[in-house]
Structure formats: structure tokens, C-alpha cells
């Protein structure tokens, strides 16, 4: 049954990739959406079955051995899938939100030609299939199939408008940056295999749990710390963390629903999932956890500050995604694996909602992505506005919306594990989140429409209408002439996700508020090694601190969120005069933030250009043209030189030949006679 979950979208991919291009949009989009809905149905059934199982060794899980993938003497890697509480949350998010985004896409992409439309849906289905393999895989190699597969689909979908230079470049950038991370991932995997002889998650966890926890300092770090750090490098690539986050903002060149599905809700969370999946492993390497927490919170801060000043609506959301992913890494870094996954799950709802909402805005404005040329859409796009408002409140962390519970869980776990500095930085990041999200909201929906003041389409920056073919379909004749709210399929997706953004958090109401934090209890078994004796595992994470402090911190984080909102309101609700004055006053800071800390330029100068020079100067002109070509040409020239000498022997005179034969015969006979 588990196999059916990734198989259904894969069938959808096969159909759309082969015959879909000849079919109407309704048919190919319908098949793709139906495949996802089917996968969702099977997922629900599978999770239901899993919940009804008796726990074995403290773990409830469904295993399915599909076939033996690699069998080579001692090495045997089965293609095995496993459904446990952690992967069940993941597959429900992927198939559930995936279905909504497919549905949304059927309306969003209607301006594409039929072959492009089918191509889009075939990629999207293929992505879902790989993502499901990633989360269902029972061992590192199977996970790695999905890991690489989603990377491929991400590349294909970022470069969906491949005739546009910036989109093709962004796709390449994503691929290359991810490759750096994957290099670490493979190395980490190999180290684990060498040390433990298995790559099955559960077997690894059982073996590792027998070991001592490694020292938390760099000096005392051992094999596990090395392996987990390498795996974390893989996670920073896939999940867009420092220092490899640079590809995600550029990934916004893809169609907006793709940004929602791949670059917000699912694929980019794979790194968090991978760490949570190997919670036992990472718990035995405290130094790695420390690194993860610090990287996470720094990423949250850096991305949050950049997000404050960007003008492209999708880029703000992209930096927001990077920032929220930083939160998730902070959570797993302080050992709150359940908190990280909980935030992953709530974030999937509201970030998908926000991206789809921004897509509806862009759709209505025929490809305009620059917020400076939006404004006043509150009354014209009511469905989009209200759902977007819900998403914004949810991400800002106001109760009782989903984001509040998950973010507060992370903050509380950070505090209660004694990381006070990280907690402080995370609170600042929460403040930034509220500020830039409400800035986005005000710039887009409040004030008067600035759509007409937009410069001619070709005159604007490359990112302004990066994602769509809409501008081609609707020539820019009076952009505000017909503003239509989201069409029905888009509206359905928005409303359902808005409902999700409100209620998703109720599975994790903390004990301090009289809840039961079901999600933590539900996930807990996934973070421990299976105990063969069936004894109950000692819950190490049970740091139930002072309820009063927890409530106090909760109040503080709400206050911080409100402060962020108020700041955004003061600066952006009624024109941007004050914001511009502030930007002018701190023009240095503004410039650095607006240019994203010049990280792209730095990478270009430090890595890209030297590698280019090395490749051109040494590898191409010396190594390839000189040494390699030299050897090849040298062989030819040597043969030719000797031939020039030797061919003189062939005179063409028959008697000369006869004489040489005679002399030869005499010489051989003479040798045998007188030797």
C-alpha cells in the first residue's frame, strides 16, 4: 500500500509526459490533480492503518520491502519504505497541500499552451513522487533517490520558462548550490556505512543508541560529529540555510505555485525532516546540534533583515521561507525535534497560502511582481485579501493561529534548554517576521493602486514579472482595467489553506495553555531507537520547566509580534513617506540589506571567478589544450615522423625486393646452420 503513494503521482507524470501534450488543459490538469488526490486518499488510509497498529518496541510503523535494490556480497540495500508517525505527518502535508496546489495551478497556468501545461503538470507530479519517496524511504540510499529527484524537479520547474535567461540561470544556480550540499550528504552517508555497516534508519538508531554521547566541543568530536556535520551540510543546501541559502530567492523565477509547493511547503523542509529522522544520531553529536542551532538562528536573522527591504513580493516570501527554515533548524538544534517538525507542518500551510495568495495578486495584475506598483487591492480582491491576511497573522505568530503555537514551542524549547542568547536572537527574528510580513500586506493591499505608475513592462527590472506568461497573453493595456479575483479553483485552494492555517496549530497546544501537545507525543517515538525489549523509552526531552516562565515568555513573544506589526503599520500603512525617510537616514544599512549583504557578489568573487579563472587558465589552456591534446597529437606526430624515414625502404623496384628476400633467407638459414 505504501508503494502506491509515490506511484500514483509517478503514473500521472508518465501520462502527462508522454501523451498529455496532445490533450486539453482540463484533461491533463485533471489527471495530475486526481493522481495527487488519490495519493492523499491512500496516505490517509495508510496513516489510519498505522494508527491502529500495536506498537512494537515503542514504535508503530508499517514496513514495505518493495524489492532488493543493490545486492553485492555484504552490501545489501533493499528498496524499502517505512511509515511511522514522522513520515505520516510528512506524507499528509505533501499530498494534502500538494493536491490543493495542483488544483490551484489548473487555473493559474491556463495561459500556457497545451504542451507547456502538460509539461508543467508532469514535472509537478514527478516532484510529488520523489518527495514521497524521500519521506517514506526507510534508509539513506532510498531517501537519497528522493533527495536528488526533488532537486532535479526543482531545477526543471525553476527553469520552466527556459527561454528567459534569468530563469535558466536561476535553475542552474539552484542545481549547482545543491550539489555542494549533496557532496556532504554522500560523504556523511559513506562514513556512517563504513562505521555501522548499515544505512537503514532504524538499525542505525539502534546501534548508535548503544554508544556514548560524544563530547560537545570541537576537540572531543568524533566520528558521529563528523558524519552528522556532513549530513547537515547536505541539509543546508536543500533547506537553504547559511551559507548555501542563495539559490532559494532566485528560485522565485519559477511559476508561483511551484514556489508554494517546492520552495516553501515541502522540498526545502527535507533537510529538517532528514535531521529529525536521524534524531538519535544527531542527539549523540552535541557539537553538531550546537552548530545547527547557531546556523539556524543566524539564517533566520539574516534572511529576516534582507526580507525587510525587498520589493519583489515573491522574494520577500522567499526570504521569509529561509528565515522560517532557520527557525526549524534552531528547533532541531536545541533538541526539540518535535517542535521543528511541528513548525514545518504549520509553516507548510501558511507559507503555501501566502505564496498562492501572492500568485493570485500577480495573476490579477498580469505578471506584476513589484510591490511598489501594487496597492489598493483590499477591496478588489476580497478572497485573496482575507486569506492572505490570515496567512500573514499566522506567520507573525499571533494566537490562536497556527504559527503562534509552533513558533512559541520553538522559542520555549530554546529557552528551557538554556540557549538564552539564541532565544534572544530568535525573538528578534520573530519581530522581523511580523514587520516584513505586514509591510508586504500593507504595500500590496492598502493605499491606492499604483499599478498605472508601473513603467513599461520591458523597462522594469528583470524580476518584476519574472514568473508568468501572463503579460504575453494580456498586453499591458490598462493593467487595472479588469482586476479579477482568484478564479474558483484558486479560491478553493486559498480558502482551504486559510482554514488549515487557523486550525493546524491546535494539534500542538502546549501544556501550559491547558492543551496536550498531541503532536509532540505523537512524534516522540520516531525520535528514539526502537527498543527490542519493548520497554518504554526514558523521555530525555521532558524538560517541563516553570509554567509561569513559559506563559511569561509566550506573552513576550506575542508582544514582540504586535510590536513588529505596529512598526509596519506606522511605516507602511499610509504611504511610504516615513519608511523612505528612514531608509534615507540609514542609507548605508539600507543599501547593504537591499543588496542582500552582497553575498552573491561575495560568492562570485571568492568562488565563481577564481574557479572560472582556474578552469580557463590552467585546466583548459594548459591541461586540456596543452597536456591532453599534446599527448594525442604527439602520438600521431611520432608515428608520422618514423614513417617518413621507413617508407624510403619501399623503392618500387622488384629486384630490390627480391634481393632483400634473398638476403633474409640466407641470413636465417645461416643462423640455423652456424649457431
Amino acid at each position: 500500500m505504501l508503494l502506491l503513494i509515490p506511484l500514483l503521482p509517478f503514473l500521472g507524470f508518465l501520462i502527462n509526459a508522454t501523451v498529455g501534450r496532445r490533450w486539453s488543459q482540463g484533461l491533463s490538469g485533471g489527471i495530475a490533480t486526481a493522481a495527487m488526490a488519490g495519493a492523499f486518499g491512500v496516505s490517509v488510509a495508510a496513516v489510519w492503518t498505522m494508527l491502529g497498529l500495536e506498537p512494537i518496541g515503542g514504535v508503530r510503523a508499517i514496513d514495505q520491502h518493495v524489492f532488493t535494490w543493490i545486492a553485492s556480497s555484504t552490501l545489501e540495500i533493499p528498496f524499502a519504505l517505512r511509515l511511522d508517525p514522522l513520515s505520516s505527518i510528512m506524507i499528509l502535508v505533501i499530498t494534502g497541500i500538494g493536491t490543493l496546489i495542483h488544483l490551484y495551478s489548473t487555473a493559474y497556468m491556463h495561459d500556457e499552451t497545451n504542451p507547456d501545461f502538460a509539461r508543467y503538470f508532469s514535472y509537478l507530479n514527478l516532484f510529488a513522487s520523489f518527495m514521497l519517496i524521500l519521506v517514506l524511504g526507510a534508509s539513506f540510499p532510498v531517501m537519497f533517490i528522493g533527495w536528488e529527484g526533488v532537486g532535479l524537479c526543482s531545477y526543471l520547474l525553476i527553469g520552466f520558462y527556459y527561454t528567459k535567461q534569468s530563469a535558466a540561470d536561476a535553475g542552474k544556480k539552484a542545481f549547482v548550490v545543491n550539489r555542494i550540499g549533496d557532496f556532504g550528504f554522500i560523504l556523511g552517508m559513506l562514513i556512517l556505512f563504513t562505521a555501522f555497516g548499515t544505512l537503514d534508519f532504524q538499525l542505525l538508531a539502534i546501534q548508535v543508541s548503544q554508544l556514548e554521547v560524544e563530547a560537545g566541543t570541537m576537540a572531543g568530536a568524533g566520528l558521529l560529529t563528523g558524519a552528522t556535520l556532513l549530513l547537515f551540510l547536505g541539509a543546508t543546501g536543500k533547506s537553504a540555510q547559511l551559507p548555501l541559502y542563495v539559490w532559494l530567492p532566485d528560485a522565485m523565477e519559477g511559476p508561483t505555485p511551484v514556489s508554494a509547493l517546492i520552495h516553501a511547503a515541502t522540498m526545502v523542509t527535507a533537510g529538517v525532516y532528514m535531521i529529525a529522522r536521524n534524531a538519535v544520531l544527531f542527539s549523540h553529536a552535541p557539537f553538531t546540534l550546537e552548530v545547527i542551532a547557531i546556523v539556524g538562528v543566524l539564517t533566520a536573522l539574516v534572511a529576516g533583515t534582507i526580507g525587510l527591504v525587498q520589493n519583489d513580493i515573491k522574494r520577500v516570501l522567499a526570504y521569509s521561507t529561509v528565515s522560517q527554515l532557520g527557525y526549524m533548524f534552531l528547533a532541531v538544534g536545541v533538541g526539540a525535534f518535535a517542535g521543528g517538525v511541528f513548525h514545518l507542518y504549520t509553516h507548510a500551510f501558511f507559507k503555501a497560502l501566502l505564496f498562492l495568495g501572492s500568485g493570485a495578486v500577480i495573476h490579477a495584475l498580469h505578471g506584476q511582481q513589484d510591490m511598489r506598483f501594487m496597492g489598493g487591492l483590499k477591496d478588489k480582491l476580497p478572497i485573496t485579501f482575507w486569506t492572505f491576511l490570515i496567512g500573514t497573522i499566522a506567520i507573525s505568530g499571533l494566537p490562536p493561529f497556527a504559527g503562534f503555537f509552533s513558533k512559541d514551542e520553538i522559542l520555549w524549547k530554546t529557552w528551557s534548554s538554556g540557549h538564552y542568547v539564541l532565544w534572544g536572537l530568535a525573538v528578534v527574528a520573530a519581530f522581523l517576521t511580523a514587520t516584513y510580513m505586514f509591510r508586504l500586506l500593507y504595500m500590496t493591499f492598502w493605499g491606492t493602486s499604483r499599478a498605472n505608475s508601473a513603467p513599461e513592462h520591458e523597462g522594469t527590472s528583470a524580476h518584476v514579472h519574472g514568473s508568468t506568461g501572463h503579460s504575453a497573453a494580456h498586453p499591458p493595456s490598462g493593467p487595472s482595467a479588469h482586476l479579477h479575483d482568484a478564479p474558483r479553483p484558486m479560491a478553493i485552494a486559498l480558502v482551504l489553506l486559510a482554514v488549515g492555517s487557523i486550525v493546524a496549530g491546535f494539534f500542538g497546544v502546549p501544556h501550559a495553555l491547558g492543551g496536550h501537545n498531541q503532536i509532540e507525543a505523537f512524534l516522540e517515538p520516531s525520535f528514539h531507537a526502537m527498543t527490542l525489549s519493548g520497554e518504554e523509552v526514558a523521555h530525555a526531552a521532558a524538560v517541563h520547566g516553570d509554567v509561569a516562565i513559559e506563559l511569561g515568555l509566550m506573552g513576550l513573544s506575542i508582544a514582540v509580534a504586535i510590536a513588529g506589526i505596529l512598526l509596519a503599520t506606522a511605516l507602511f500603512k499610509n504611504g511610504f513617506g516615513r519608511a523612505e525617510a528612514l531608509a534615507a537616514q540609514f542609507s548605508g544599512v539600507h543599501k547593504v540589506l537591499y543588496n542582500k549583504y552582497y553575498v552573491d557578489e561575495l560568492y562570485d568573487a571568492v568562488f565563481v571567478q577564481p574557479i572560472k579563472r582556474l578552469s580557463t587558465g590552467a585546466l583548459w589552456k594548459v591541461m586540456d589544450a596543452g597536456v591532453i591534446d599534446g599527448i594525442v597529437n604527439g602520438v600521431g606526430l611520432t608515428v608520422r615522423g618514423w614513417s617518413a624515414v621507413l617508407r624510403r625502404v619501399q623503392t618500387g623496384s622488384v629486384r630490390a625486393y627480391a634481393m632483400s628476400i634473398f638476403v633474409g633467407v640466407v641470413a636465417i638459414l645461416g643462423y640455423y646452420l652456424w649457431r
Binding site: R647, R648, Q650, G652, R655, M659, F662
Partner: protein, 103 residues
């Protein structure tokens, strides 16, 4: 009365014939003569085969001698045909005239 010939007598005759043939091949400047010299060399070899056979009391060498005669006939036919073609082409039969098959 000549003495009964021994094997060495035959082999010596054969060596003399073979040397005459070889000298002809190298020294004569007419292709037809060269061809005839080759025939002399072949028959010198035939003589060796038959003589050795006679003294060993076997027939293998005699059979080979018949093969050599057959091949020599064929060779003479083909060789003469080529010579005629060459003569039509160049109006000469000197081997030094035909040296174009070279580098």
C-alpha cells in the same frame, strides 16, 4: 662407366640449378627470362624432393613435386598474362621500368 650416383650428387646438382636460377632472377633484365629463371629454381627444388624420396623410399616428396609442377604451370600462365599486359602498357619488359608502386 660412371659410378652409381649418391644422394649428394643429386643435391649438388640441385644446388647448382637453384644458384643458376637465382642468378638469372637477379642479373637478367628481361622479365620473361626472369620468369624462366624462377622455373629453373622451382625445378631445382623438385629435384631435391624426388631425390630425397628415392633414397628414403617414401612417396611424400614425389607428391609434393607434382603439386609444385601444377603451381608452376599456373604461375607461368598468370605471369605471362601479366607480362603481356605490362608490355602493352609500357612497350618494354625491363623490370627497372616498373617502379611506380612505392612511397
Amino acid at each position: 662407366m660412371l659410378p652409381e650416383p649418391t644422394l649428394n650428387t643429386y643435391l649438388a646438382l640441385s644446388a647448382v640449378l637453384f644458384s643458376i636460377g637465382t642468378a638469372g632472377v637477379f642479373l637478367r633484365r628481361n622479365l620473361i627470362t626472369i620468369l624462366l629463371s624462377v622455373e629453373v629454381m622451382l625445378n631445382a627444388v623438385n629435384l631435391t624432393f624426388v631425390a630425397v624420396d628415392r633414397f628414403l623410399g617414401t612417396v611424400d616428396g614425389q607428391i609434393i613435386a607434382f603439386f609444385v609442377i601444377t603451381v608452376a604451370a599456373a604461375e607461368a600462365a598468370v605471369g605471362l598474362a601479366i607480362l603481356i599486359a605490362l608490355y602493352r602498357h609500357r612497350e618494354t619488359l625491363s623490370p627497372d621500368a616498373f617502379t611506380t608502386l612505392k612511397w
